[in-house]
């Protein structure tokens, strides 16, 4: 419903209701090139210079960079809001790679309802710089092409959820996050281009969801005070501002079925 909190649900078949809504919104934002476009969100937010998937620096705080990394899927309101600008209730879904050990069908099928599937790939448009040419190509993936890469297992994620130390949890989750980028291959292995692949957001929602579930279990008590005031450029937020997903307008659920006033599922 317009203006209400949205529920992030698990990636499902493209025929599922929540996926249909999401696909419709993604189709709309991919057809634009302005500041309400997928290209804007993926480009200006993540590439080429303001990528917040910052490798951590051991010097200042043990996990300062990792903290920023962990927050990354939670910070930008733009991806969330431009989807809802197009279709009320549209929400990013999460890819549970501990269960779905291949690229989800919704992200690999060529077409949905006889229309090109916007989750399969995206033609990125990165402007040229003085020194480098423009980048314009369809995103590609090569899952498992690095034979030594691994998707994190359920056992590994269950284990990291038991880690009571926030810094240690964050460090470990960052590496599991990187595992998935390496496993998916192609543009997802490159910090510059990864966010142009639509599956980037499904992956980051999963990371955000794991952090949310960890917060439910362990709270926020172990986060250093100095980190809580860390500005999260360029989003106009601090770490403290994004601790509560409900305050950001979304929640993680397993199902959400809108009921119309006349009764029955819409």
């Amino acid at each position: 419903m317009a203006g209400s909190m949205v529920y992030r649900l698990r990636v499902a078949d493209p025929t599922a209701a929540h996926m249909g809504t999401f696909i419709k919104a993604m189709t709309a934002i991919q057809a634009r090139l302005d500041n309400k476009s997928f290209n804007f969100v993926s480009g200006s937010t993540w590439c080429p210079g303001v990528v917040l998937l910052a490798p951590s620096s051991k010097s200042a705080y043990p996990s300062a960079g990792a903290a920023i990394f962990t927050l990354a899927p939670r910070i930008p309101s733009t991806p969330r809001q431009i989807l809802q600008d197009q279709v009320a209730g549209a929400a990013l879904p999460w890819w549970d790679w501990t269960q779905d050990r291949v690229i989800p069908r919704a992200y690999s099928v060529v077409s949905v309802d006889s229309k090109p599937n916007p989750l399969r790939r995206y033609r990125m448009q990165v402007p040229k710089t003085v020194r480098n040419p423009a980048i314009s190509h369809n995103t590609v993936r090569s899952p498992g092409s690095n034979p030594q890469s691994r998707l994190p297992s359920k056992n590994e994620i269950d284990n990291v959820m038991l880690d009571t130390d926030w810094a240690s949890f964050s460090d470990r989750l960052e590496s599991y996050h990187d595992d998935v980028h390496v496993w998916v291959g192609g543009d997802m292995t490159n910090i510059t281009t990864a966010a142009f692949d639509p599956i980037f957001y499904a992956h980051h929602c999963m990371i955000d969801r794991i952090w949310y579930l960890w917060q439910v279990k362990h709270g926020n008590g172990g986060i250093p005070q100095a980190l809580l005031n860390l500005p999260l450029e360029p989003f106009g937020k601090t770490f403290r501002d994004v601790l509560d997903v409900q305050a950001l307008g979304y929640e993680y659920g397993s199902a959400a079925t809108p009921i119309n006033v006349a009764g029955g599922p819409q």
């Binding site: 043990p62 020194r131 030594q148 890469s149 460090d171």
Partner: protein
């Protein structure tokens, strides 16, 4: 490409019991193609790359999400060594990374066999060696083993 690096042998210096052990990897250069690293104790060669997790010395893995080439202008990928007063921007995205691998069971097994320890890392990327600036795919300033009571 596959890159093996061997650290040690060294005296591990661990005498008492511990409930958890971490291998910390410092100042990892991320101006690299993305790669995964598998870690082994007391196996210099790691000759067989099949079923790595079943290897007797297997300790764990970590991955590094990398930035293989600069797409900006001059100094775009330059990591400043100092920060100006009033510059409250977050750290540069290419600030060297830190990784932590929980190696508790593998370390217990390895140190039960003696005081000397060797760490072997097997880094794997789909990129070729010539695509990497520098000597190593896994370029790090150091490793540290930490145990907790």
């Amino acid at each position: 490409m596959i890159e093996r690096r061997v650290f040690g042998p060294f005296n591990h210096g661990i005498s008492g019991p511990f409930t958890r052990a971490d291998l910390e990897v410092y100042s990892i250069n991320t101006f690299r193609p993305s790669y995964v690293v598998h870690v082994f104790f007391n196996d210099i060669k790691v000759a067989n790359l099949e079923n790595l997790e079943e290897h007797p010395g297997y300790a764990g893995r970590f991955s590094v999400f990398g930035h293989p080439q600069c797409v900006g202008d001059d100094m775009h990928c330059h990591v400043p060594l100092t920060t100006r007063r009033f510059d409250d921007r977050p750290s540069h995205p290419l600030t060297p990374a830190f990784r932590r691998v929980v190696v508790t069971d593998a370390l217990r097994l390895a140190i039960s066999k003696g005081k000397r320890l060797t760490i072997t890392t097997v880094a794997s990327a789909t990129a070729s060696k010539k695509e990497i600036e520098g000597d190593y795919l896994l370029e790090t300033s150091g490793l540290q083993l930490v145990t907790y009571e």
